[in-house]
């Protein structure tokens, strides 16, 4: 029935359209082609002028309306040290392109109105003007040079790897269909070796348990980081391409199977500090559940999030992890609570190459040296 109705509607629209067409053709016959052309020119010109006004109002008005939801404009300022630099670069580009946008759109539609055809008016023979053309070649070239230089300056600094001797902590994020698996190096500060052939149900990252660096590695469910400390994220993938995306930190990098990538950044605000700033905006004082006015305000439940930004299959939209930025003390306390994955899930199971064999530190007696470097 609905299908029939839809088809009937479509047919009706087609009939109406055809009738409009017929009517105008009759009108053209009655009033003469030339007169109709004059009317059409005038109307179209006025249309462009009206459109120009409406368009600019729409652009500027909507930007103001959505300001507080946009990263970098409202309360969602960058939560990383490099992020604010990227935001200011965005704003710089917006400044220049905004000027060009407004000027060119105004010129285009103003001319489109001003020079709409009139009977008896002669068009201007104006085929070229070298001076003008040089101006609008050179000016964009200068602006572009400026933007390129400031852009590349920021890019090379942001993308630089850790310098020798610099203090930093390393964490690892591994994408798979459809979640992120996080790994911290544990007290030794080093991530252990992995081999994708070793991956199975209890060894999701394919860690090589003969590598003692793996013994203290932890697998938390949240990305918890101390504020103000340089972090190097090692980004890997188990199956297809993913992308490690932290919108609030202005950070994005593909996860490529078989080729670890990295991104170095420094969180500049804790989650708590960020929440407190959000609480100043009325958008975030709204209740989390619109149906229940007594539910907690949005700012209170706010969390930084980790997302996937490279199409990876049907669950691409759901790869969420919470990111918590805390003070150094809170971080150490949190870290102290975490147990290594090896200790909780592998030790003395069939998976453990040292099943039943005491490890150094576990026993006063010297343990047999682990078979070393089988896979690096």
């Amino acid at each position: 029935m609905t299908t029939l109705l839809a088809i009937a509607c479509l047919l009706l629209i087609i009939v109406v359209v055809v009738q409009i067409g017929k009517v105008t053709e009759l009108a053209t016959k009655l009033r003469g082609e030339e007169e109709m052309e004059q009317i059409s020119n005038k109307r179209s010109g006025t249309g462009f002028l009206l459109f120009l006004v409406g368009f600019l109002v729409f652009c500027i008005g909507s930007a103001i309306y959505y300001k507080n939801w946009m990263l970098g404009y409202g309360p969602h300022h960058a939560a990383s040290v490099h992020g604010s630099r990227l935001d200011s670069l965005f704003n710089l580009t917006l400044f220049f392109t905004g000027i060009v946008f407004v000027i060119t759109q105004i010129l285009l539609f103003y001319f489109a109105w001003k020079y709409s055809g009139e009977k008896g008016r002669k068009a201007l023979y104006f085929a070229h003007d070298n001076r003008l053309e040089v101006v609008w070649t050179v000016v964009p070239a200068i602006v572009m040079t400026f933007l390129v230089i400031s852009g590349l300056d920021a890019w090379n600094e942001v993308m630089a790897d850790i310098n020798d001797g610099e203090e930093y902590m390393e964490v690892e994020a591994t994408g798979y269909q459809f979640a992120w698996h996080l790994r911290y190096p544990g007290p030794d500060g080093k991530l252990g070796a992995r081999n994708y052939k070793l991956i199975n149900a209890v060894n999701p990252l394919g860690q090589d348990w003969t590598d003692e660096k793996n013994w203290d590695d932890i697998h938390p469910s949240e990305l918890v980081l101390p504020v103000g400390k340089k972090v190097r994220v090692r980004i890997t993938s188990r199956d297809v391409l993913h992308n490690f995306f932290l919108p609030h930190f202005r950070l994005k990098m593909d996860a490529v199977p078989g080729m670890p990538t990295y991104f170095v950044f420094t969180p500049s605000q804790t989650t708590e500090e960020y929440r407190r700033e959000l609480s100043k905006y009325k958008e975030y004082q709204a209740p989390t559940d619109p149906a229940d006015p007594n539910s907690e305000p949005l700012w209170k439940t706010f969390n930084f999030e980790l997302a996937c930004a490279e199409l990876c299959g049907k669950g691409h939209y759901s790869m969420r992890r919470v990111v918590r930025i805390v003070s150094e003390e809170e971080f150490q306390a949190w870290l102290a609570q975490q147990q290594s994955y090896y200790a909780t899930s592998i030790r003395n199971t069939e998976e453990d190459p040292f099943n039943g064999i005491p490890l150094p530190g576990e026993n006063v007696e010297p343990a047999p040296a682990p078979a070393e470097g089988s896979v690096q």
């Binding site: 285009l108 085929a127 852009g151």
Partner: protein
């Protein structure tokens, strides 16, 4: 006679015949084409035609068919994005098992796999079948022989093959929509490993195989067309038509064909390596993969290599799409402003510069893909240099309408709309081309807004301008102007309503290709905006129905073209008879005496290219 012609004012129709007879070039066409054995029956006239004008119409109508399919697909996934809670059960008769019905509530939900298949097919279809074949295929075929003064393409047979390979590509792609595992669903860029492994996505099974076969046929079509366009432009120009006298659409089609010829084979090489990985167990793009509970044997390949091969085509491809639109708009704006195009040579040089630069910017799609960040420095520089020739073109179009006497046909309206769209979408490219800003903007809705405006909507505007403008040349009748105007204003306002708000989504960090946004607090604040976009998309699609009705009605019932040059244009296609015969000119081929843009010169409204220069007159095209 020569002096009489010199003094002639805007030539009356019969003068054209006299001029061609007097100065034209006799290639003894009639002695070879007695009885026109190439168009002897229905099949050779309408189906397996070798006439470039018929092939152009075939490309156009096939392109329109695919535009409707691709557009409808976008409506379905827009419904999902705008109204994720609404039941889509009513789509079940059409989409079948891809709509799952909740047994208790009766609510129908679009399967995420199929959402991604729709997104993928929408991109593939619109980019390749509509904006490459439908735009460049149509107008290169129609205009190249007519505008350079040739009887037909250099090889009419290859030209026919070009269409039929395109048709075949379409048939294969269409079949893939009905596979049990679904059509390919890994994005139009088809990045491996997702596209290589059926375990990763059901669409990567048979759907991907058909996708690869279809696009390989498509590339054959582009190459057959391209060598023909290039050969025709270089070798079959009529007497007097030197390169500086070519109308701008021809320059644009020429550079487009060169880009296609150089870049599409690279894409095919990538496709072949991908086929090897999928079927022969090679590891060109695959490395250390654990999927479906199994560690695969592929070792040593690089998924990034595929991205290089893909984008080596992928970036020139966006210029393959936009250059023909630019050429068409240059011509349309000049003719209807009754003014010469401003800065003809600068326009040509900027087309050439854009064409050249398009080959050395591909990795700007890959800033965040894990390539060495140092490499990105080069690609940022070259990418932002493209802004310079693009700016030159924009200012030249604006100056072209400055001081004009603009006749607002639907074609001219779309021409002005094109420039507005190209400005809006081009400027956001300056953000994305700068790798530092791209860190945040990459793969967000900011990118979606950017490329839809600059190469989607703008290219469609160029195509519409061309269809309205040359419709009389194709079908001997005019399209209805009132309906054309409804179509234009609806599309201009609607297209901005769809894509402008997406900038804000992107600036809020919302990633593209998400099936729902409510898993993330950061991305879930925009339901009202998403609904607005969806409603705008439905309305814009409805306005395209007006165009389609207008198009088909006008073929048979439109106002007849009675004079051969209704717009008072200078180019050669308007010197052919109203009913253009096979071979384009019944007698001699006209000789070209001047450049294509002598409008408003020396007190004349326009001076056709076939009118000889007056004594002491300076010609711009030399």
């Amino acid at each position: 006679m020569a002096t009489a012609a010199n003094k002639s004012t805007a030539p009356a129709p019969h003068d054209v015949d006299l001029l061609i007879e007097e100065y034209g070039y006799d290639d003894h066409f009639h002695e070879h084409h007695e009885g026109d054995k190439y168009q002897s029956n229905f099949f050779t006239t309408y189906i397996f035609s070798q006439d470039h004008k018929m092939i152009a119409r075939q490309f156009l109508i096939t392109g329109m068919f695919w535009a409707v399919i691709g557009g409808l697909m976008s409506l379905v996934f827009r419904l999902q994005l705008g109204f994720p809670e609404e039941s889509l059960a009513w789509l079940r008769p059409l989409l079948g098992k891809w709509i799952t019905i909740n047994a208790e509530t009766g609510v129908g939900t679009l399967a995420p796999e199929f959402y991604y298949a729709l997104v993928t097919m929408h991109g593939t279809i619109i980019v390749f079948f509509v904006l490459t074949a439908g735009l460049s295929g149509t107008f290169s075929n129609l205009l190249i022989p007519l505008m350079v003064g040739a009887r037909d393409m250099a090889s009419p047979f290859l030209n026919m093959l070009s269409y039929w390979f395109f048709f075949l590509a379409g048939v294969v792609m269409f079949f893939s929509l009905f596979l049990n595992t679904g059509p390919f669903a890994g994005g139009w860029t088809a990045y491996p490993p997702l596209s290589a492994l059926p375990q990763a996505s059901s669409g990567s099974a048979g759907g991907m195989t058909l996708w690869l076969i279809s696009l390989t046929f498509f590339v054959v079509s582009v190459l057959l067309g391209g060598i023909n366009y290039i050969t025709t432009i270089l070798n079959l120009r009529t007497k007097g038509m030197n390169m500086w006298r070519l109308p701008l659409p021809i320059w644009a089609f020429f550079v487009t064909a060169v880009l296609g010829l150089l870049s599409f084979p690279v894409l095919v090489s990538g496709f072949f390596l991908l086929i090897f990985d999928r079927t022969l167990g090679t590891s060109f793009f695959l490395n250390e993969i654990f999927i479906g509970g199994q560690a695969l044997d592929y070792v040593g390949g690089s998924p990034i290599l595929y991205q290089h091969l893909f984008w080596f085509l992928g970036h020139p491809e966006v210029y393959i799409i936009i250059l023909p639109a630019m050429g068409i708009v240059s011509e349309v704006l000049s003719v209807h402003s009754r003014k010469p195009i401003f800065g003809y040579k600068a326009m040509v040089y900027s087309i050439l510069a854009i064409g050249f630069l398009s080959f050395i910017v591909w990795a700007h799609h890959m800033f965040m893909s894990g390539v060495n960040p140092f490499i990105s420095n080069f690609f940022v520089v070259f990418t932002l240099i493209i802004a310079v020739p693009s700016a030159v073109k924009v200012f030249n179009w604006i100056t072209t309408i400055y001081g004009g006497n603009i006749r607002y046909t639907s074609a001219a309206l779309f021409g002005v709309g094109f420039v507005s769209m190209f400005i809006s979408g081009g400027l956001t490219g300056i953000f994305l081309g700068n790798s530092a800003i791209d860190i945040q903007m990459h793969d967000t809705y900011f990118v979606v807004a950017h490329f839809h405006i600059v190469m989607g909507v703008a290219a469609f505007f160029g195509m519409f301008a061309g269809v309205y403008h040359w419709f009389p040349k194709m079908f001997g009748r005019f399209m209805n102007e009132t309906l054309g105007k409804i179509h234009f204003w609806g599309t201009l306002i609607g297209a901005y309503a769809i894509f402008w708000p997406m900038h804000y989504l992107g600036m809020a960090g919302v990633p593209r290709r998400y099936y729902r946004f409510d898993n993330f607090d950061t991305f879930s604040h925009f339901s009202a905006m998403n609904q607005f976009i969806t409603i705008a998309a439905v309305l814009v699609f409805a306005v395209q129905v007006v165009f389609i009705v207008n198009f088909f009605r006008s073929i048979w019932f439109g106002r007849k073209m009675t004079t051969r040059n209704p717009y008072g244009a200078n180019t050669l296609e308007w010197t052919t008879p109203v009913d253009v015969p096979h071979g384009n000119w019944p007698g001699k081929i006209p000789t070209v005496q001047r450049w294509a843009y002598d409008y408003a010169k020396a007190g004349e409204e326009n001076i056709s290219q076939i009118i000889p220069l007056a004594e002491g007159e300076h010609d711009q095209g030399h």
